[in-house]
Amino acid sequence: MSDDEFAQIEAVLGREPNDLELALYGVMWSEHCSYKSSRLHLRRLPTTGEHVLVGPGENAGVIDAGDGIAVAIRIESHNHPSAIEPYQGAATGVGGILRDVFTMGARPLAVMDPLFFGELSDARQRWLVEGVVSGISGYGNSVGVPTIGGELTFDECYSGNPLVNVLCVGALPTERLVLGIASGVGNLAVLLGSRTGRDGIGGVSVLASAGFSGEEGALDDAKRPSVQVGDPYEEKRLIEACLELLDRGYVLGIQDLGGAGLVCATSETAARGGVGMDVDVTAVPQREPGMVPYEIMTSESQERMLAIITPENLEAVREVCERWEVRATVVGHVVEPLIDDDGNEVGMLRIRDGFDGEVLAEVPARSLADEAPLYDRTRERPSSLDAVLDDDPSNEPVGSTNEDLLSLLVDPGWVYRQYDSQLFLNTVVGPGRDAALLRLAGPGLPVSTRGIALSTDSNPRWCALDPRLGTALTIYESVANLACVGATAKAVVNCLNFGNPEHPSVMWQLSEAIDGMADACSALGLPVIGGNVSLYNESGGVDIDPTPVVGLLGVLDHLVAPPPGWNWRAGDALVLVGVRRAVGERSFPLGGSRWATRRGRRGGRLSEIEVSTLRATIDFVVGEVAGICAGMASDVTAVHDVSGGGIAAALAEMVAVTSVGAQVAELDDFAELFSEFPGRFIVATGDLDAFATRAAAAGVPMVSLGTCGGERLVIGSTVDLSVDDIAATRRGALEAALSALS
């Protein structure tokens, strides 16, 4: 805690804080909990839209998806704990994000996991990957929520700082929506779930608000006791108990306990409701002997929720919880706010030793929850950046395009086969494709034939070169992914993973990334309905590349047939839909491309794209695919957007999955093959003329590429590979890298 922060606390309290009060401020005003370095900039994001029911600031964002169904979505990071104990770090990351969603009254329906590690040639990275994937698998499968997609990125900048981001989406009948608000003087705060132990004490301040020293072993081992251990079986019972309590209308407000545990849940609910709350630490069920008030209030023991109920409902609540074998204990009372000298109401959080006992701490709830200092940390564009931008990879010798292409192909099946991706019988398109597509259905939901689509996307290579444009392009690419399954994008959540905010270059990256997201979201009319910021991702003084991760949620009106996927057939015509060239000097920019990164070239500039054409293209593709999903006949047999690895990788992926080759005479410029700017789609059609007519009518550019068929992928005179080589290389890549002997 800084001297300034201490002085602020003194000013708020009108006296010196005691040790317990100081400790509570310490966790609540930590970076992870208070977002003090980022709040100023996050205000620039567009957050409103006609279908938005709940925007940022609550536990999850919620949209109205139609048919009386609301969809909740949130994404969070659990980066630092996963670096120390990958299985439990990832597992508890899943547990935490599920609670953020079901605390809104939504049954969690699916999870996604964007993951970032260092290169797999390093044994420690292989250990991290195995642990993190096992942890997500172990927790997600056991708690009963399918994992339907994610991302896997390997780059040296993450070797000291793996990133584990987890997204959850859930659905609820709109009338079951409940917020995390404490209200009604005399009402009770009931703690549900696990007993409280010493898990994660100081986690948010120890782990998430500091970097790693980088020295193998020593300091990081000292951080080991802070990692929480998750129990998915407890969480499953907690989910069922909470949803039943909500269905029966027993709960006025509910909040999950995550970072900073009970002090966070009590102060936030009280602050939102403008009331005070008395909390009796002796009433909290404890797992360890001899816990002191500070530990009880800041413990991050998993699988706990705080429900606000009327006293009349206490017996009924206990009965439901008993049936589900979920502990339920009254730990607090809602009390009148005090009136200050200016006549304002100030809700106080009072920690007491017994309900009528000694007051151990007394602070304004709002001060803890909402009034952490707002920092405007110095931002500075790194002076070294210009040289990097000028170092364009277009002068890299071409070499063997066949080998380059093969080296870019990775089938993530090794990861997602460890995840249950089918529970609830909703998964129409699961992991491994452009976006996931789910039926909008589940226990307790009104009947609907709608679908929801989800994609998580990131591009740290682009963002390292140009955080503003790179983030905007990432949004566009994500919207294109949703279009591939016929869904219209409706809302965005983001997880901003950056380095040390005390470095002016990092603050500049963060500010620019936020502006880029605002640019793209405004251009497309997309609201940002929630987000998470993870800072201090640095090791040995070196920051990770700026890694804004976006999660896009889309809706499909009528889902009765699967989208075409990548399933082209021999004889189909191949078409490139959308703009062919980027805007400006470089038609086929290679800066920030996976091809260039593979060659060790990390410089170059990104190119702008024609946004109005992008919008028209997206609308056209959405229309085509949505029609198929609604059961209409179509000549379209495959749709895949162009992204990582460019057109060449997109074609190769389709070859690998269908075992049907393709002959593409139209393309021969290798820069065009590996350039990655978004807004382009590969489409296969059984009737080229009909398709071309429809594209022209929609004002969408397209160019004919060639035909599907045969046992080879031949692109001009640049690529010539057998279907078998492509499929085998792609299928074996990840497993081979993971089993490498150190």
Binding site: G144, D420, L423, V560
Partner: protein, 222 residues
Amino acid sequence: MTRIAVVVFPGSNCEYDALTGVESLGADAELVWHSTKDLSGFDGVILPGGFAHGDYLRPGALARFSPVMDAVARFAEDGGAVLGICNGFQVLTEAGLLPGALQKNAGLKFLCQPTTLTVTSTDSILTANATLGQELVIPINHFSGAYVCDDETLARLEGSGQIILRYVENPNGSRGNIAGLANERGNVVGLMPHPERAMSTLLGSADGRVLLESFVAPRVRA
């Protein structure tokens, strides 16, 4: 109308999917809590997939002591149709209602993927409507699906037509490629693959229909 009970243990999670599966075939189905001691009035009982009691100790080890299991044993004695899917299969082996046991997958990883099965016996409540040799694409979703038993048991099973489904390509190290088996009478069946996840081409395969159709078909009790 066939009445099916779908047992819910704390930690089960495939009960709604199983319910949906049999209801879509016209059966009357309801969820039944594991504390139930009375299964009279039902024609069939399903023990669904999931993680009963968190799979703690061993999958199915704690669930087999749930109050409902006595009723399930009596129900099976009386000739009622009992179907254990995945975790349900594990519970049935722990309870001794089916021989053998399920161990961790040979690859020591959770596996969720489609598998191709061959029907190797139609003498069971799950395969009566199928044809011998018929191939079905049905997903598996488990960490502990490797069937094990001793040599004597294997010989007995193979001789008696109790092995009803085998994997074409063994995904988990199961002895004899066994994916599903029945008791001697054919009225108690366990399988690791999830037929309720293969009821619709919208979701990838409808090959599970013939199995659940067999299960919900009205029958005279032996």
